[in-house]
């Protein structure tokens, strides 16, 4: 049973076919699959379909075998899908630590009345341990009590990854976590994405930074104008003429 299975997903906005019969899966916990393609290829739309922000016209999305197609985002999150955003969204007025505790609650929401009774400041020992571990993993211990809004760009991205990690999802969708980073930051963040995978979380990685995708992914899926034009290991993908034509040849010297 695949961790994440995308089966024949299609989506059109008006007359524009954004996704055309996309099919692939992430088989094992801890696998990293790269999703690449030029801007407008449909990568973010695919993320939005998986998380439920957008309903597909056709096709099915499964997590651990169970269909989650068409569920709203808060429900796909509860089924074990976490995501980060290209524009590094965070709860800006909450502290780094509070953001992580919020991530921790993802799969644990009960009734409204329960949430009115439970305190948000008294935390279980397990939650504290988990948040401490993740703070260490994403190297934000010294920023623990800072409001998220004061974090510099690269650290915002790390906190986003941390929130996905702390939720203990089946699959984490990372949307360009390396965007706007310098070489040293890219190297550091690659290590952090590996830590996500080491926790047994399957990772679907959208990224333009080729060193990162090639270095991290076990498999790569290539989209172009909503079509799946190639898939395979990083080496196979890099040699594929269709891919070079569509994308790599243009962007990576």
């Amino acid at each position: 049973m695949s961790v994440l299975a995308i089966e024949g997903v299609s989506k059109a906005f008006g007359g524009l076919q954004v996704l055309e019969d996309i099919t692939f899966s992430i088989e094992e916990p801890g696998d990293i699959v790269g999703l690449v393609g030029p801007n407008g290829a449909g990568k973010t739309t695919l993320f939005n379909v998986v998380t439920g922000l957008v309903s597909p016209d056709r096709g099915t999305v499964r997590v651990q075998g169970a269909a989650i197609t068409g569920l709203p985002p808060h429900k796909t999150a509860a089924r074990g899908v976490s995501r980060t955003f290209q524009d590094t969204r965070l709860f800006d007025e909450l502290t780094v630590e509070e953001n992580l505790y919020q991530g921790r609650l993802t799969q644990r929401r009960g009734s409204i009345l329960g949430s009115l009774v439970r305190s948000s400041v008294r935390r279980s020992a397990e939650d504290r341990r988990m948040v401490d571990q993740v703070l260490e993993s994403v190297e934000l211990e010294s920023e623990r009590d800072h409001p998220a809004r004061v974090l510099p760009h690269a650290k915002r991205s790390l906190l986003g990854i941390g929130m996905a990690m702390v939720a203990e999802p089946h699959v984490a969708l990372l949307d360009e976590p390396f965007g706007g980073m310098n070489e040293a930051e890219i190297q550091g963040t690659m290590g952090i994405v590996r830590r996500v995978a080491e926790r047994g979380i399957a990772v679907l990685l959208v990224e333009h930074v080729m060193t990162a995708v090639m270095g991290l992914s076990h498999r790569i899926e290539v989209l172009n104008f909503g079509q799946q034009i190639a898939s395979g290991t990083p080496e196979e993908t890099a040699r594929n003429p269709a891919v070079i034509d569509a994308y790599l040849g243009v962007d990576v010297a």
Binding site: P73, H74, A78, L90, E98, R109, L116, V117, S120, V121
Partner: protein, 321 residues
């Protein structure tokens, strides 16, 4: 953890501020203090949906009035005891809030504000035009005062002080309610929906459900305030419940600090006392509130308390580096 300490400071300041008028106040000062506390209860309600939830409700003037009218009419027309009419009025207001919330939270931002403005206006027009029931522009007279308890307890207090204590106790309970709500998982989730609704949903928060409940709870506080208002003045008329009432409460939230516990108290108390300081120019009262809103939005976007908090946080950050 920082916010906890701030909240505690708020509670202590609030309690001290409550005791001062009780000891030293003459009748007029107690009257002012009582009015301020009734405003505080309404502002607590608005703080929940607007300050913590980020949704600007202009319906709260109407909801405030709905409770005052419901309790007042049940009391005067049906001869119902005050406690009973008050409970029913709060229940009715909460129910109506739930219905408004059901519709209004489908929108957010400006559309939400406009929808609530419409509901507030409908309620006001009912007070004004359903003459058979509400008495129309003449309002409702002869509403019984808030229950007396001093003889029952066996203490001898002046009636004005007795009423003040009743209102103060209710306001304290309301404040504790807000304190609890803010610290609860629900309160934190509500803040998350304000900060970024897409992100909130991505972390399992049902945004609309959270907002519906926030509006319901917020309306219940408006109902509580309305009941206090009606039985305190023993007379109500439609003009107290126009959107200007909501507007004043909004100014209090913004000037004190939207989404800041202590800001609720500072905004409500200071701005409800302000008209008395400016009594000589009382015809300009709404102008004053308008000017304060402008100044706050322009110069203190996070309110007086927010400004102080941010300066302290800046220092702490600078010292930490």
């Amino acid at each position: 953890m920082r916010s906890n300490r701030w909240g505690l400071v708020g509670l202590v300041v609030g309690l001290v501020a409550l005791v001062i008028p009780a000891y030293f106040g003459n009748g007029y000062q107690l009257y002012l203090a009582t009015i301020a506390l009734i405003w505080l209860v309404l502002v607590i309600g608005l703080q929940i949906i607007f300050g913590y939830g980020g949704l600007l409700s202009v319906a709260h003037g109407g909801l405030f009035g709905l409770a005052a009218y419901t309790s007042g009419l049940l009391n005067v027309e049906k001869g119902m005891p005050v406690i009973q009419s008050a409970v029913i009025a709060i229940a009715v207001t909460t129910l109506v809030s739930a219905l408004i919330g059901l519709i209004a939270v489908r929108a957010s931002g400006m559309s939400f504000a406009v929808l609530t403005l419409a509901f507030g206006a409908i309620l006001y027009e009912l007070f004004l035009n359903a003459t058979d029931v509400t008495g129309g522009p003449l309002g409702v007279v002869g509403i019984e005062p808030l229950p007396e308890w001093s003889a029952w307890v066996g203490v001898d207090v002046r009636p004005v002080l007795e009423t003040y204590i009743t209102v103060a106790v209710v306001a304290c309970v309301a404040l504790l309610g807000l304190w609890w709500l803010v610290r609860s998982e629900f309160g934190r989730a509500l803040v998350c929906t304000r900060e970024d609704e897409t992100l909130a949903a991505s972390y399992g928060i049902n945004v609309r459900q959270t907002r519906r409940w926030a509006f319901l709870i917020s309306g219940a506080f408006a109902g509580l305030a309305g009941v206090l208002f009606g039985h305190y003045f023993q007379f109500i008329a439609p003009e107290s419940f126009t959107f200007l009432a909501a507007f004043q409460a909004i100014v209090m939230v913004v000037a004190g600090g939207a989404g800041i516990f202590l800001g609720t108290i500072v905004g409500a108390i200071s701005l409800s006392l302000l008209p008395e300081l400016l009594r000589d120019v009382s015809q300009y009262q709404q102008v004053t509130y308008g000017v304060i809103l402008f100044l706050a939005v322009r110069f203190l976007p996070s309110g007086v308390v927010g400004w102080v908090r941010d300066r302290i946080a800046e220092r702490r950050l600078a010292a930490g580096r």
